[in-house]
Symmetry: C2
Subunit: 346 residues, 2 copies
């Protein structure tokens, strides 16, 4: 590795530059999104503008050691393409799945990757000789929208990201709202239907059991099977694995009203949950993101907004807006970098 | 008023004492609980120990002007009884009902008092020439438990207080979790039953519509009417206004099993809501308080604890405790004083 000497090299910086870290004009940051199938390294300059991106398959099944090396190689590769020396890195932020030990920067368990006790922070600090901050991937995404995207300048941002499950995050007074040493704001597992369907977590009636893309796909597959959604039948058939956001959007566009009703009904449930979140943490901005929202932003954002506004106490009615996320697939990487910068520089 | 000169007098303090406010050994604080029926002024010393208390009826119906004067007179009276000059007050914290303008310290509307736009902060600052901090009464109570009661040293405290409604509050990293300029954490109005009973707020299935003392009393009155609760019939009859916490506890003690089932069932619903709160803000301590909990602490705390532990994701199971509040009727006044001290001294 060509970065082993970074620490001693950076000590050779002129004193006027090393005095205040914020004065270094050549600071760079890495934001890293460690996803179940893909990883993304983004190189950002001191003003958090993206200089370069590098995407690779995660290949978690190849094991933890190989995986950590792939992360390092991906970061090295993005640095190389941008012609930035590793010693110019001020810090690295990594958005990770699974329950985390935030202080140690360890992924305690990532079922999608098959990893247990992955020492992300320690490994990357050894490799790049700069501070590494680990955050939950959804939290990082919400922080990204707060710092650089759809929720800039907000006092309190709540993010809700429906996908296979429903992820959530909250940025309160410019900080990610976190537990003592772990992430929280598990919006997908608040109970919204006491006698609702079984959730992946083993409980009944969690929000994600009735309103995730997977829940929508299951209802849509049923409609296809019943012959109520001819367009979706052509596009995706009755296999829930094939009924992805794009297929749902295309079927609605083609005229499958029942699919529109299914998506609206899920969005209403998210809207009721958003109303509860408004009552609890009083966000001024609620950001909706993820593939489902990207495929049908108008339908979902409008339905969630209208339902939430109808469901809150009168004094909360005009206190929040509901908007679509802006950063797309970059959100977690950019958010992780911004969060690292905030923790390390503020 | 005998405090007009306070400001100039305090300027005559020796310089070594006025330099840091924390060094003044003679600092006193007023914590004030402005309730719908009673008001309580507590005088606290610099270590937040209660020196003196004074309780009066609020008599909100006599109007705002009379009410503000009663607040001042109650504070003057507690100072007088303790023989403490008003100029030794460092600050006043007031726990108030209703939607508040936190910055201006105004009660925007207090239906129980019949007051609109009550300038509490300005009025008391004019009267006592010291800083006044206004907070929501439940928030102040939860802060009191966090600072001086059942949740000392907690990273994140969630308080749930079932009464006529269900109040809630959250202290996150030693600060009351608040909206931009208003209180939040309206636990009573998160939806727990999509097709549940009509709530006082006009919506359906809010937590307080199924689990407040009023909801319990309604179910209990029905049981009495049906002849299923002979002891409660003797104690309180079928009038929901008479079926208060003490009556419920006495009926259970005397053997009305159906009443115990009704209370347990409500506590289970609170437990499910607590699980959602744990998923969202990851409290390490959940404090249950109010008259209902005080009358039946074992039954309610145990049921809420067991239900919440059963309902959370495995990684949250051992991250929180559920305990009964310790400060009783003092919570709001003591919390308001502690909160004022924290905001003014930290």
């Amino acid at each position: 590795m060509d970065v082993q000497k970074q620490e001693s090299q950076s000590n050779e910086q002129p004193p006027n530059k090393s005095k205040s870290n914020d004065n270094r004009r050549d600071d760079y940051w890495i934001g890293f999104d460690l996803g179940g199938t893909k990883m993304l390294a983004a190189l950002l300059d001191a003003k958090l503008r993206v200089v370069e991106r590098k995407r690779r398959k995660t290949k978690g099944h190849e094991g933890l050691d190989v995986g950590l090396k792939r992360i390092v190689a991906t970061i090295e590769s993005v640095l190389k393409e941008a012609d930035v020396e590793p010693e110019r890195l001020r810090g690295i932020g990594v958005g990770c799945p699974g329950p985390l030990d935030l202080k140690k920067g360890v992924i305690r368990e990532a079922p999608n990757l098959g990893w247990v006790d992955a020492p992300v922070k320690e490994y990357l600090e050894d490799a790049f000789h700069c501070p590494v901050v680990v955050a939950n991937d959804v939290d990082a995404g919400v922080f990204g929208e707060h710092a650089l995207g759809a929720a800039r300048g907000s006092h309190c941002t709540v993010g809700v990201f429906p996908g296979t499950g429903i992820g959530g995050g909250c940025v309160y007074q410019d900080r990610i709202l976190q537990g003592k040493n772990s992430s929280c704001f598990e919006v997908g597992h608040i109970q919204v239907a006491p006698d609702g369907p079984l959730c992946g977590c083993g409980q009944q009636g969690c929000l994600e059991s009735v309103a995730s893309r997977l829940a929508i796909a299951a209802a849509a597959a049923t409609a296809v099977f019943r012959g109520q959604a001819p367009h979706l039948r052509e596009i995706a058939g009755t296999d829930v694995a094939e009924i992805r956001s794009g297929a749902l959007a295309a079927a609605i566009e083609a005229g499958d009203d029942v699919i529109e009703n299914i998506v609206s009904s899920a969005a209403e449930k998210i809207g009721v949950a958003v109303a509860s979140l408004v009552h609890l943490v009083a966000p001024d901005t609620v950001v909706l993101g993820g593939g489902l929202v990207e495929a049908m932003p108008d339908l979902i954002v409008k339905t969630v907004r209208a339902t939430a506004r109808k469901r809150v106490l009168p004094s909360y009615k005009d206190t929040f807006k509901v908007v679509a996320a802006k950063l797309g697939d970059d959100a977690t990487a950019l958010g992780a970098a911004s969060w690292a910068r905030q923790l390390l520089c503020d």
